[in-house]
């Protein structure tokens, strides 16, 4: 039986961050994730390492900490981030006193935020007249009273998780995806290990660990219960609509009917309309999106940008925030602060820790706190370096033109590889030197080249081809994998020497997983897209008709 210092359960941003930090501090770490890395709450996040302006009203310390940490993340992963300026639009009002108060009040808040934004390279706020707002965003409705700008940083969250997990592996950690923790091994009141089951092969394995860290996000209560402890969360469902391209380079912050802040913002090569925040006690792995939620988001966006209904929705992000439990509050008021539960002190169960709450932007500092506690429990001393050392690929960002020339590929495609892999781009594209056909575009939209898919399959824990959506955005374009799912599955099958039945089932799983993410939001050209997709995938490839997988949720 393998023995570890630390077993981290959960491969979201927190789990990966903890694994990386712990591994760098010399601990022997295993990271297990029951699905794919970042496929839980992280997969449905807004994709920003923001500083949390709203916390200026409840806990200034959180804002400062977030901004400082956002600055750290920029330094350790410079290739993955991009700036998103935001225009906070102020609605018009007949009462000029009210208008004055709102405008000056908002200005004050954002100017205050400037003091913290400087920690993360943010630019100072600008005050805009209504005419100026319309110059920057021409489709904003006329009835506004001006705008204030600020900026945040966007990031590709699945790649961030992957980079953390990869760094953990580089530092000696073992990473297991599609592996479920099915039970704990106890010695009296101490958790000393766990039973793991591979979801794909069915193999069972037992491992020993001095400390087990429960970083499973919305699944925290269930995992804690398995260990004999109770952790209460107040899970909050959040939904975003994804549009097929950037509408502009600026995000627009607007107010919805119920007074909540909403945004329409660019992210990589798509746009998001978000987000909702409702209590949710269903299965975090199977989150339905309701007609009301989509209508709510569109209505809020349309109230500021009337033409946004003409934009093409390609999928819906859905996730559950693992918010800490506090009774009697409206969802938005709940603190996003995190808490680390020491079950030895709290419940008498030693060797077990849990993290609840928190937000993605503070993952690094949360991980640092978590590993500090783990080190304390293990009686070891080693300072944290996760804010100083770059993540894999984050040391030097190569130029797209150089990489393109090196491999004879298009500079645009090269820029996307660099975005995802940073200085490791040349390693990723290496196969082109021996297999020239690996330069072909499997997925037109990024574009994602066959070489990158092959690299991810070989090196980035791709156990099901659907994992590729998170590794290199296969299937994330407007056609949602219509053409690329089959091709990517073939490369996966080739690398893993799969038989015909397994290949068909892998493709079916991929098709089903992608359908799940968009079927509630089919509209406009999306329906024509689907018509063509069915001709190809059901008419020519006949994947579903020949697959024997249980037609259930992925």
């Amino acid at each position: 039986m393998k023995e570890f210092d630390l077993l981290v359960v959960g491969g979201g941003v927190n789990g990966c961050g903890i694994a990386r930090d712990a591994a760098k501090r010399g601990l022997k770490v295993m990271l297990v994730e029951k699905g794919d890395i970042s496929a839980g709450t992280t997969w449905g996040s807004s994709g920003m390492i923001h500083g949390g302006v709203r916390y200026l009203f409840s806990d200034v310390g959180v804002t400062k900490l977030s901004c400082i940490d956002s600055g750290y993340i920029q330094k350790i992963a410079p290739h993955m981030i991009f700036r998103i300026p935001f225009i906070f639009v102020l609605p018009n009002d007949n009462n000029w006193v009210f208008r004055f108060i709102i405008y000056e009040g908002a200005s004050a808040v954002f100017e205050t935020y400037d003091n913290f934004a400087k920690f993360k390279g943010g630019k100072p706020a600008c005050r805009l007249t209504p005419a100026e707002v319309k110059k920057l965003e021409p489709l904003i409705r006329d009835d506004i009273h001006g705008g204030i700008t600020m900026d945040e940083w966007g990031i590709d969250c699945p790649r961030l998780c992957l980079a953390n997990a990869k760094d953990a592996e580089v530092n000696g950690a073992e990473v297991r995806t599609h592996t479920r923790l099915t039970g704990f091994i106890k010695d009296g009141n101490r958790i000393i290990g766990a039973e793991l089951q591979d979801e794909v092969t069915g193999e069972v394995e037992k491992v020993k660990a001095r400390i087990t860290f429960n970083a499973t996000g919305p699944w925290v209560p269930g995992m804690a219960a398995m260990a004999g402890c109770e952790v209460k969360l107040r899970p909050a469902k959040g939904v975003h609509l994804v549009l097929d391209r950037r509408l502009t380079d600026y995000g627009v912050l607007c107010t919805a009917v119920d007074g909540r802040q909403m945004f329409v913002m660019p992210h990589e090569n798509v746009s998001y309309i978000g987000t909702t925040d409702d209590d949710y006690y269903g299965d975090p792995g199977d989150i339905p999106v309701l007609e009301d939620e989509i209508a709510y988001l569109l209505q809020a966006a349309e109230s500021y940008i009337p033409d946004v209904s003409k934009a093409r929705v390609i999928k819906v992000l859905r996730a559950v925030r693992p918010t800490l439990f506090e009774t009697g509050k409206y969802e938005d008021d709940l603190t996003r602060e995190h808490q680390i539960f020491d079950h030895e002190e709290r419940d008498g169960i030693a060797g077990f820790l849990t993290m609840g709450g928190g937000k993605l932007a503070s993952y690094r500092v949360m991980s640092e706190e978590a590993v500090d506690l783990v080190m304390l429990k293990l009686g070891k001393v080693n300072p944290c370096r996760s804010h100083l050392d770059p993540l894999p690929g984050g040391d030097v960002t190569p130029s797209a033109e150089d990489v393109a020339a090196q491999f004879g590929i298009d500079p645009y495609a090269a820029s996307r590889v660099i975005y995802r892999h940073g200085s490791w781009a040349a390693k990723v594209l290496e196969s082109i030197k021996t297999i020239p056909g690996d330069a072909y575009m499997v997925d037109r939209y990024e574009p994602t080249l066959a070489a990158e898919i092959r690299y991810c399959v070989r090196n980035e824990w791709v156990k099901r081809p659907s994992d590729l959506t998170r590794r290199c955005r296969v299937g994330e374009g407007a056609d949602q994998g219509m053409a690329s799912i089959q091709q990517a599955t073939q490369i996966f099958a080739e690398e893993n020497k799969l038989g015909p039945r397994e290949t068909i089932e892998a493709a079916d799983h991929f098709l089903q997983a992608k359908w799940y993410e968009r079927h509630e939001a089919l509209s406009g050209e999306g329906v024509a897209q689907e018509e063509l997709s069915r001709m190809i995938n059901l008419g020519c490839w006949r994947t579903a008709q020949r697959s024997h997988i249980e037609r259930r949720l992925p």
């Binding site: 200034v60 808040v109 021409p138 489709l139 380079d249 033409d307 996307r416 050209e525 063509l532």
Partner: protein, 159 residues
């Protein structure tokens, strides 16, 4: 504890608001007196032009919805005349303009190689004519070129 933190936060905001009003007053006086105060679009430009984050004109914004109609069917690629026998082209065809290159403005500069290949476009219009969803392919290229020119010229807002 959180009640205390909240009280601290609110007082801090109150203090900052007062500070802001004073600064604002100072700025207004400066303007009246004739001292230049950087704000509005000039300040925005200074902030973000280095990242190439330019804005779009109203006409450009209204065109975007048509660019999104592409369903990746490939008919335009199949009938594009200049692609006949010019396998030197890296571009792979007109469809990429709609589905890929035009999606993300900050990366347009890397698409210049692809755009330069459109100089071989004969203007036959076959691509737009047979497109099932009516994507105006040639307009996409013109759109992208205008944005790149703006980015290079450092113009934040064009009219």
């Amino acid at each position: 504890m959180s009640g205390f933190k909240k009280a601290m936060a609110i007082s801090y905001i109150g203090y900052r608001t007062g500070h802001h009003m004073l600064r604002q007053g100072y700025k207004d006086v400066s303007r009246i007196v004739g001292i230049k105060v950087l704000d509005g679009i000039p300040k925005f430009t200074q902030n973000y032009i280095a990242d190439g984050l330019t804005s779009l004109t109203r006409a450009e914004r209204n065109k975007q919805w048509d660019f999104s109609k592409c369903i990746n069917c490939g008919l335009c690629d199949a009938l594009c005349t200049p692609i006949d026998n010019t396998r030197d082209l890296l571009s792979q065809g007109p469809s990429l303009a709609a589905s890929s290159y035009s999606r993300a403005f900050p990366w347009y500069k890397h698409a210049e190689k692809y755009l330069s290949e459109w100089k071989a476009c004969s203007g036959c219009g076959k691509c737009s004519n047979i497109c099932p969803t009516g994507v105006p392919l040639k307009e996409i290229v013109a759109f992208m070129q205008r944005v790149i020119d703006k980015q290079k010229a450092g113009i934040m807002v064009a009219d």
